[in-house]
Amino acid sequence: MAASTRDVVFVDGVRTPFGKAGPKGMYAGTRADDLVVRVIRELIRRHPELPPERIDEVALAATTQIGDQGLTLGRVAGLLAGLPKSVPGYSIDRMCAGAMTAVTSVAGGIAMGALDVAIAGGVEHMGRHPMGEGVDPNPRIISEKIVDPSALVMGQTAENIHDRYPHLTKERCDLFALGSQQKYAKALADGKIGQDLVPMATRSAEKGWGLASADEPPRPETTIEGLRGLKTPFRPQGRVTAGNAAGLNDGATGCIMAAEDTARELGLPVAMRMVGYSFAGVEPEVMGIGPVPATEKALKRAGLTIDDIGLFELNEAFAVQVLALLDHYGIDDDDPRVNPWGGAIAIGHPLASSGVRLMTQLAHHFAERPEVRYGITSMCIGIGQGGTVIWENPHYTGSDAK
């Protein structure tokens, strides 16, 4: 029997507020698994029309899969969230694109009829699990020059992009970063951000319980002068600063993915329809340009061009790598189609969780912008990869609407 292909839809996504990693961060005393369990429970509560036993998979990403991010998190978090024991789950790692890969993996399963409904998401508690915790790089990486040693330090890979594209100046990056902060601040004031957030109890032995109900990383007070004056920790006289890069963060995201026919059967809303996706590899020492070949590939496979894309949710690991993609396509640095509510430079980037944040925000943009038919979510990935997912707006009202 031939496998059937079904349309795959994004139903809804939520996230915890993102926190600053480290001992002073709001999640310093809160477990990573508790963050993602909270997200799963919120998804279930928001969708009583979805019988939990109809969930066919829980795919959760974490980059550092040890401790409270280990133990086959996708399975254990499902149990901790109170999902029926019959609901399976697994863990995913594609560094920064973990949650994105969780979504594309379950989408593949849905498309071929192996799944009807899945939960996909990710968590990264970089305070409890700093990037690189417990890694043991193979010595051949150095001896055979398989990967440039700078590829393992993400800030250095961003400096390397500046080397390759000298016209992507520090000033352009700082201006982009300022824009990210300003767009976020406006979206927050307009009540856009809160709708994605699930308030999270924060544990602190010293301060007692608290409640995280807003993102911790944003700096609305940011000025261009302030950004210009920041240190460049990766190189003397470098270009990458704490201001034009995403920080080290804690947070979790999750979404419900479904076959479109199942969504209709159960009455689940359809926020986005997946058109296609691609991942692509690049030289690890310039991992930030990964979104370029990934987007090329995804567009080609979908039979679309960049001109068909009306909205972009691009992960801002570093301003320079976002600019590299925009520059490639001749899109202005401040194009209003790009990251309308700001991006990771303001909001934060808890590695494996970020992909679903991009999607959740794109879904909101779609609902507000029925004139837009297609959008993309794209992100760079450590060790030299990029990932891009193309989405169609189900609210699209253009003359060529389905």
């Binding site: 429970r41 809160g194 957030l197 308030p199 109890a201 544990r203 301060k207 007692g208 319980w209 409640l211």
Partner: protein, 697 residues
């Protein structure tokens, strides 16, 4: 007057954070009660903890703009479990006790009198003063995962006197309050489960533990916005309240016969709560607390609690546990009722193969069938999963020969109480097992040294004296015979601990501890009847002690035949103090199992028993019988301590608390003998220094 500081108080800090809840303007002050330790050391309130909560509320009230609400919650798994009772010995006089009560009331009252709504988010275990904090809040949410919900005060010898007796009946009604405050407390300190507490009306909302705090805050915001209405049933303050008080009094009288003051004070306070305003009610609580804190019954109760909580878990005089040998297979000799119970217990707790042997295939089949039927019963009540039931059944097997013991590490015999029979059984076992296999005997009165004397390795023999029913009673007397070695003893204690028993090390003296004391005690009562005292008078003579059952009801439970056998053994050992009642012998010969009958609906002496008894003509009054009984116990306990049966009087008390169920307010028994002057009258001295289980001198 101020309350003295508790030197060793682990202070529960009240930590404040101001949180914003989506959908609610303004802040909620969220107070976390946390003593800085994990859940194994629950948060309690002493003077320092009360001061911290007081200061936190000061800070919250000073906040501008004013907070929308105040909410109190606890550290993970624990809300708060009550007053810091470790500080009670510090309280030297009634004024100090009174002040501690008033301080608690004043601080907790701030939650009910606050200018903004107050909430308790009860996230975990909540007892006593912790529950009173929650009851002072205007609204309560409760985690479905909260492990223990109770007012244990009456169990210890106090009343829930930081508002509990006033607030609880006015929240859930007097009848339910009596269940929680009196019945549960006096029923082995029974705890409520979260769902039960919610259904009783103690909390307004019940949320799952996974996101309890978030849901509670969201709920609180809904209440504050007016979106969520909190409906509580109307409390019946009419006849129902009086009926509840009558029911409570009947319960107490049946259970205690007035023996312990605290539960009666609690009942009075609940009666008062019907009409009294909170100020009047709490003032009465203050007085009750002060009286009770300065009572010997409470001090004995705290002493008992400490024995059961600490000494029972760290037995005194035990060889280092590193000497213990692993036990991977257990043998049980005999297949009677006791053997079946033992097999079940060993299989359940050690999870190793347990093999029963009996020469009689019929008895063997019955023994196995008994254990399997018990497993099925547990599975039927969903106490065991089908898989676990299968596992346990597979672990319990039978063999007509002792060869099956060849690879056992621990063999216990539960055959007929006859020295020669037991000697032979042990010799047969020794012929099969390894040199290090522990041989345990469940004898209740025979000499273990004699039992081991003919073995090649007498050092491996140890007494393992359980109490019936084995699954229920927590005490295990572990008997060191003259030649028992440390490895054997360490193994026995390790096994006892795995069986979840409270183990006490006793010397190989006749009948060990509990049976020796109970037999002496019963002997005094029985001999009074033999001499001509009325059955009822003798039986009721010890009601003022508040024992779990009267002497003749105990006789029925133990069985006259067993009681008679033990008394014969003890008579043989100590003929001057332990007599053998001819009447009891006649009872046994006639196969009577009880003195009383309840066939008519009320308790009556069984006419056949009355006919069997040949009584003298020198009846005693109840008081005289009681004096004799207590004097007999005091003399016996002193002799036991002098013989070194146990290390200290504390062990005697622990045995009586756990093996005989004697009440906390007696402190087991020696605190009661001390405070009533019986010890000094009979033995010339106290068992415990004043202040250990009584008020300081």
């Amino acid at each position: 007057m101020t309350t003295p500081e508790f030197a060793d108080e682990v202070v529960t800090k009240a930590l404040v954070q101001y949180v914003e809840v989506p959908g609610l303007d303004g802040e909620i002050a969220l107070i976390t009660l946390d003593n800085g330790h994990d859940h194994t050391r629950p948060s309690t309130f002493g003077p320092g903890g009360l001061a911290s909560l007081d200061a936190a509320l000061d800070a919250v009230e000073a906040r501008t703009p004013a907070v929308r609400a105040i909410a109190v919650t606890g550290k993970p798994f624990i809300f708060a479990v009550g007053a810091d009772l470790s500080g009670v010995p510090v309280l030297q006089n009634r004024d100090q006790a009174l002040e501690l009560g008033r301080t608690g009331h004043r601080v907790f009252r701030r939650l009910s009198d606050a200018s903004v709504p107050t909430f308790a988010f009860v996230n975990g275990a909540v007892m006593g003063g912790g529950l009173e904090v929650a009851l002072h809040a205007r609204y309560r949410t409760l985690s479905a995962g909260a492990a223990a919900i109770a007012f244990p005060e009456c169990f210890l010898g106090l009343v829930p006197g930081w508002g509990g007796t006033q607030l609880l009946p006015n929240l859930i009604g007097a009848d339910k309050a009596i269940t929680v405050i009196l019945e549960n407390a006096l029923n082995q300190n029974k705890m409520l489960k979260a769902k039960q507490a919610y259904e009783l009306g103690i909390a307004d909302a019940l949320f799952e533990p996974a996101d309890f705090l978030e849901r509670s805050l969201e709920w609180a915001a809904g209440v504050l916005r007016g979106d969520i209405a909190v409906n509580r049933p109307e409390i019946d303050r009419g006849q129902a309240w009086d009926d509840a008080i009558d029911r409570g009094r009947a319960f107490l009288d049946a259970k205690l016969h007035g023996a312990a003051p605290a539960p009666y004070r609690a009942l009075e306070l609940i009666a008062l709560a019907r009409d009294a305003d909170l100020t009047t009610g709490t003032a009465a609580e203050d007085e009750a607390l002060a009286d009770l804190v300065m009572s010997d019954e409470l001090r004995a109760g705290l002493y008992s609690f400490d024995l059961v909580q600490k000494r029972a878990k760290r037995p005194v005089g035990v060889p280092d546990k590193s000497l213990a040998r692993p036990v991977t297979k257990v043998g049980v000799v005999g297949a009677g009722l006791m053997a079946g119970q033992l097999a079940l217990l060993f299989a359940q707790r050690l999870e190793v193969p347990v093999v029963l042997t009996d020469l009689d295939q019929g008895r063997l089949d019955k023994g196995i069938a008994y254990a399997h039927a018990e497993i099925d019963k547990l599975a039927g009540r969903r106490r065991l999963s089908p898989d676990r039931a299968n596992r346990l059944k597979a672990l319990i097997t039978g063999s007509p020969t002792k060869d099956a013991f060849a690879d056992a590490d621990f063999v216990i015999e539960a055959v007929f109480e006859d020295l020669k029979v037991k000697q032979q059984v042990l010799a047969e076992v020794e012929a099969v097992v390894s040199e290090t296999c522990v041989l345990a005997t469940n004898t209740s009165s025979l000499s273990i040294t004699d039992m081991a004397s003919r073995l090649a390795h007498p050092e491996r023999v140890v007494g393992f004296h359980f109490f019936n029913p084995v699954a229920v009673l927590p005490l295990l007397e572990i008997v060191r015979a003259d030649r028992t070695d440390d490895a054997t003893l360490a193994t026995a204690f390790a096994v006892g601990k795995k069986l979840k028993k409270s183990c006490v090390l006793v010397k190989d003296r006749p009948a060990f501890v509990v049976n020796r004391i109970l037999t002496r005690f019963m002997g005094a009562v029985t001999s009074a009847v033999d001499e001509g005292t009325d059955f009822e008078v003798a039986d009721r003579s010890v009601e003022p002690l508040g024992l779990p059952m009267s002497p003749f009801v105990l006789l029925q439970l133990v069985g006259p035949a067993v009681a008679h056998h033990v008394s014969e053994t003890l008579h043989e050992a100590f003929p001057d103090r332990f007599s053998v009642s001819e009447n009891l012998a006649r009872l046994v010969a006639a196969r009577k199992t009880a003195i009383f009958t309840w066939d008519s609906g009320t308790q009556q002496v069984d006419p056949e028993v009355a006919a069997l008894f040949q009584q003298g003509d020198t009846p005693l009054t109840g008081e005289q019988v009681r004096d004799r009984a207590l004097e007999a116990i005091a003399q016996e306990v002193r002799l036991m301590l002098d013989e070194g049966v146990v290390a200290e009087a504390q062990d005697i008390d622990l045995c009586m608390l756990l093996g005989a169920g004697w009440p906390f307010h007696l402190g087991g028994i020696t605190p009661y003998l001390d405070r009533t002057g019986v010890s000094e009258r009979v033995t010339g001295r106290r068992f415990l220094p004043a202040g250990v289980a009584s008020l300081p001198a």
